[in-house]
Symmetry: none
Subunit: 114 residues, 4 copies
């Protein structure tokens, strides 16, 4: 696994897991590797993987069976999309609006293409 320098590694790991879910490589109730195993495999500290799993758990993408491991939730894909939508509304849309204004693109031009 390779990492960009401009985004925390734990989020990049989360992205790759989400992508595998969206692509159907991981389905509901599939088990994902332990933090130690996953960390060793991709060469990062287990704590980093733990933070990834923590984040994904908060987003309802995976859940923990105590003493067993982490599993993909049944509605993981839906939750990922919901999360992406939030991000889109909070981050991308304002950035997009700012850039449009900076370049002098009118509202009308944008609305036309929606």
């Amino acid at each position: 696994m390779e990492f960009d320098s401009n985004k925390p590694i734990y989020l990049q790991i989360a992205d790759s897991i989400c992508n595998r879910i969206l692509h159907g490589e991981l389905k509901g109730e599939d088990r994902i590797p332990s933090v130690r195993e996953f960390g060793a495999r991709i060469g990062v500290n287990p704590n980093t993987v733990a933070r990834t799993y923590d984040t994904l758990t908060d987003q309802g993408v995976i859940y923990n069976k105590r003493g067993i491991g982490f599993f993909v939730t049944e509605d993981a894909a839906a939750n990922i999309r919901r999360e992406a939508k939030e991000l889109f509304l909070k981050e991308e849309l304002p950035a997009f609006a700012k850039k449009a204004q900076l370049l002098g693109v009118s509202k009308e031009d944008i609305i036309k293409q929606l």
Copy 2:
């Protein structure tokens, strides 16, 4: 000079030159280095730099004096902004619109933020 892997080198060089123009480090009629000198300095093949200069010439950012070298045009900054706007309208806006639809973001939510 460092290069990302996700964008052609010749365009990254073009970007860096455009940025120096937008920041006022390069002004109209300033000479920019020869393809050979620039290539040697940043460690890329002269042909790659030539491609950069060719692209910027097409965009009206620089022009060539035969046998002398390349020079920044008087209206370079304006042409850079015009080019950026075109790119935005042709590439980013459609991608944005597509993503918005995919995530189920309504037109109204977008229009509100413009």
Copy 3:
């Protein structure tokens, strides 16, 4: 295919393609040969053909379907004529005017023949 020495090969190839379009031998959405096939057929380097295709793409005469090949645009003929007119106004007209002045041909003599 034969080449004059006074014009770059890649532009001569472009001209021949444009002519075939203007003569109706190539129509909108027709596929043109791959850079490798065309290069082999006419005996030039594929890179040279690629430059031709790049130029024609900039002029809106052909477009690329990724992984498939290049195709003639619907409005190729119109774009070719527009391009020819631009060239005429920017290059040939000034050269003509300069030569007329150099030879002492009066405006009136020219206007008479227009």
Copy 4:
């Protein structure tokens, strides 16, 4: 000496002589080589050179001293320019006018640049 295929060799030789006169390499009363010598030097049949000299004599660019050779006339440069002007009016101007009309360039656009 090299020759294009699209123009008679004897005229190409004439052009080269005229150019040398216009550039001052040959002046009034300078002797030019005999048809045999010139033909041998540039690798063409003496008859071809003779035709060149015949043509240039008609145009008042050179003249013959019987038994001596050919010499540049005093007003050679002026005669070359007069000849060029005639050619311009008879050939280039009509071709130019035709092309302008073909491309839909208006008279006004042309007159502006004269």
